[in-house]
């Protein structure tokens, strides 16, 4: 089998599973069977992706494409679909399939108290999500990527709203859908503009400088929505209403990384637009710092992780803004592992305690030692503790910013690194240490093997993945990094900041569960609601006002015009109807007159 064939399996195996579960109700209604089908096909996808990586390692990338849309005309259209396998997409396929398999396995344990039919529905969504993500990752052009992008958005909506009877979950699903759809308009308009300028949907297109800036800025809008960057990050914390494995897969490891992946893919386009790149660097760094501050004051464990995800995505985009696609891509892969791990470990805790609130946890280290260990491994990796996976990738990002002399983002990211360690330290201390804060926490216990196994696999990857940075660099061969070579330099400043973050966390929350005064005032100031309120205000003052005016114009001007024209013909017809007597002789009379008139005309003309 050739490399693209393996990639095709990686993409289409989950589609087969989704169709099976969607069409064959008997399988779907039996929750366990549905889970088995879904996990089997996810494993098939993983195997396909791994062989695609191996093939790429041995023989380089290759494509399998078929003509999809073709037309003539002034701007001839020629679009292909298929798979594009190279050093970027193949590892990404593997990462997505791996995390998805782990998450699906974890879900069988996490959702064990759901009804079978409802679990079947869950796994159908999961398979559809995996398919759409793989479709996006393997896309040979931006149009196929857009298709994957949109299906991903739809499955995100379905999965956030999985508990659709819960009003908050239904609202969160709608909010996520609206915000990301709004942003997706940027991608759509950008694609049309790109096609208008170049006549193709390739990310290697050459554009005039102004056109490149316009197109990439439109793409950035879509990235801001999908990858939850300020100010379109508001949907991500609310998306935590979905089941925790969903948060792990979609809203931490893979889907939100699609925005970053788009920028990595479209790097040839972004390289033509220095302004967009600068904007991206500042946007990413600003979000990284802002979201880290917000993560520090959350009381809900999942929301801490959600803001942390915003923050880490900001890191990746900052690196891409600095032109270091590899640094961003590397952090994307390591982040997928450790953030999925953190969410699944949090899921294990939430499953045991029955609440998201850290004030109901505490002292869990005795009850759930394995969960605590993997959570700490994930937290250390996230904070960039030396030797863990996140350390390598995050250092590369910070390094790339200093190499490109982007000092303000550089400082923001360093401060963000300190805050990351601080809020993760706080989360660990509040969750696993101190006294038991609730009855459930006292009686918590480790989950079953279906949940433990994914935790262990992801923990190993979170600890070890960083050592494969050099291999990934050779495989991906992204033409960027700082001097065209990958060399890891020990980022002492960032490491010291990360360590001091943990120390400060220990000082602040080690002995007491009281929030320090500084954190409390920060919480009041940085209350996440203000961005939301801004949107509500914008909605009321802007959108509703505009729509009222538009409604008035529509009703009294546009509709009135139409009505006048309509009633003219209505009244005219009512008069003209009288000509039609229904009497044949009258018609004959008219015909005779006509014939006579014709005869007279033919003689006298």
């Amino acid at each position: 089998m050739t490399t693209p064939m393996w990639a095709l399996i990686a993409v289409f195996a989950p589609l087969a599973s989704a169709l099976l579960l969607a069409v064959l109700a008997p399988i779907r209604r039996r929750g366990g069977l549905a889970a088995a089908v879904s996990i089997t096909f996810a494993l098939a996808s993983l195997v396909g992706a791994i062989f695609a990586v191996i093939g790429t390692l041995h023989a380089g990338g290759s494509d399998w494409t078929r003509s999809w849309l073709a037309s003539g005309g002034a701007l001839p259209l020629s679009v292909t679909f298929g798979v594009h396998v190279d050093g970027v997409s193949a590892p990404m396929l593997a990462v997505v399939a791996l995390v998805a398999t782990c998450v699906q396995l974890f879900s069988t344990g996490y959702l064990d108290d759901e009804s079978s039919a409802s679990r079947g529905r869950y796994f159908a969504y999961q398979s559809l999500f995996l398919f759409s993500m793989q479709l996006l990752v393997a896309a040979p052009n931006l149009l196929q990527l857009f298709f994957g992008w949109e299906i991903v958005g739809a499955t995100s909506y379905l999965l956030i709203g999985y508990w659709y009877k819960k009003p908050s979950a239904a609202r969160a699903a709608v909010k996520a859908f609206w915000v990301t759809k709004f942003a997706d308009m940027g991608l759509l308009i950008g694609l049309v503009a790109l096609f208008g300028f170049t006549g193709s949907f390739e990310w290697t297109a050459q554009l005039a400088p102004a056109a490149a800036t316009a197109v990439t800025l439109l793409f950035v809008l879509a990235v801001m929505g999908k990858s939850a960057q300020f100010p379109l990050h508001v949907w991500l914390p609310d998306a935590m209403e979905g089941p925790t494995p969903v948060s792990a897969l979609l809203h931490a490891a893979t889907m939100v990384a699609a925005g970053v992946y788009l920028v990595v893919r479209a790097q040839p386009l972004f390289a033509q637009a220095p302004f967009t790149q600068h904007f991206l660097a500042y946007l990413g760094a600003g979000t990284a710092l802002f979201a880290a501050l917000l993560a520090l004051v959350q009381t809900d464990l999942k929301r801490v992780l959600a803001y942390s995800t915003c923050s880490q995505l900001g890191y990746m985009l900052a690196a891409l803004g600095a032109g270091s696609a590899f640094a961003g891509f590397f952090h994307l892969t390591t982040h997928a592992f450790f953030k999925a791990l953190l969410f699944l470990a949090a899921g294990s805790v939430i499953h045991a305690v029955g609440s998201n609130e850290m004030s109901k946890m505490g002292g869990l280290w005795k009850k759930m030692p394995l969960t605590m260990l993997v959570f700490i491994a994930g937290a250390f990796s996230l904070a960039g503790f030396p030797g863990f996976a996140g350390f390598f990738s995050k250092d590369l990002i910070i390094d790339s910013l200093s190499e490109h002399h982007l000092w303000a983002p550089y400082a923001a990211l360093l401060l963000g690194a300190f805050l990351t360690a601080l809020y993760m330290g706080r989360a660990i201390l509040l969750t696993f240490f101190g006294p038991h804060e609730s009855h459930e926490a006292e009686h918590a216990h480790e989950p079953g093997w279906s949940m433990k196994l994914p935790l262990i696999v992801l923990a190993l990857l979170s600890v070890g993945a960083g050592f494969f940075g050099g291999d990934l660099w050779h495989l991906a061969s992204l033409t960027d990094y700082v001097h065209g070579v990958y060399h890891f330099r020990f980022g002492a400043v960032a490491s010291v900041l990360a360590l001091s973050g943990f120390v400060v966390a220990w000082v602040a929350w080690g002995k007491t569960r009281e929030e320090p005064a500084l954190a409390r005032s920060l919480a009041a100031f940085a209350n996440r609601a203000w961005v939301d309120r801004l949107y509500v205000f914008g909605y009321r003052a802007g959108l509703l006002l505009v729509s009222d005016v538009a409604a008035w114009i529509d009703r009294y001007i546009v509709d009135a015009l139409v009505n006048v024209v309509g009633s003219f013909f209505l009244l005219g017809a009512r008069r003209a109807r009288r000509l039609q007597t229904g009497n044949v002789q009258d018609y004959l009379f008219a015909m005779s007159l006509g014939a006579i008139a014709l005869a007279v005309w033919s003689i006298w003309r």
């Binding site: 007597t581 229904g582 009497n583 044949v584 002789q585 004959l588 009379f589 005779s592």
Partner: protein, 99 residues
């Protein structure tokens, strides 16, 4: 008699028939008017055949006679139906499609 007198006679016959067709309300009267108009056409055929020397025009006159017989058969059948449904044969009564 010349061709012109024949044609004038034919035109007069046709006009009389048309007038009857347009003004009569009685169905049988309408059928009679149509016959008059058909015979005006017939007169034209015969006149042109006679003066023009194309004798097959007379054959056409026979065709027209056959045609009008068939037409009268159908027309009278319609009159019968009209009488059965309305107890009268005024064509104004057959206005069901208008309502």
């Amino acid at each position: 008699m010349t061709l012109t007198t024949c044609l004038i006679l034919s035109a007069a016959l046709f006009s009389v028939g048309l007038y009857g067709l347009l003004t009569r309300r009685h169905a049988v009267g309408i059928l009679l008017s149509i016959e008059v108009m058909a015979n005006a056409a017939n007169l034209n055929f015969v006149a042109f055949a006679h003066y023009g020397g194309a004798s097959w025009g007379q054959a056409f006159a026979l065709f027209v006679l056959g045609l009008t017989v068939a037409e009268v058969a159908i027309g009278l059948a319609l009159v019968m139906l009209l009488f059965r449904s309305h107890k009268d044969v005024l064509v104004d009564l057959a206005n069901a499609f208008k309502h």
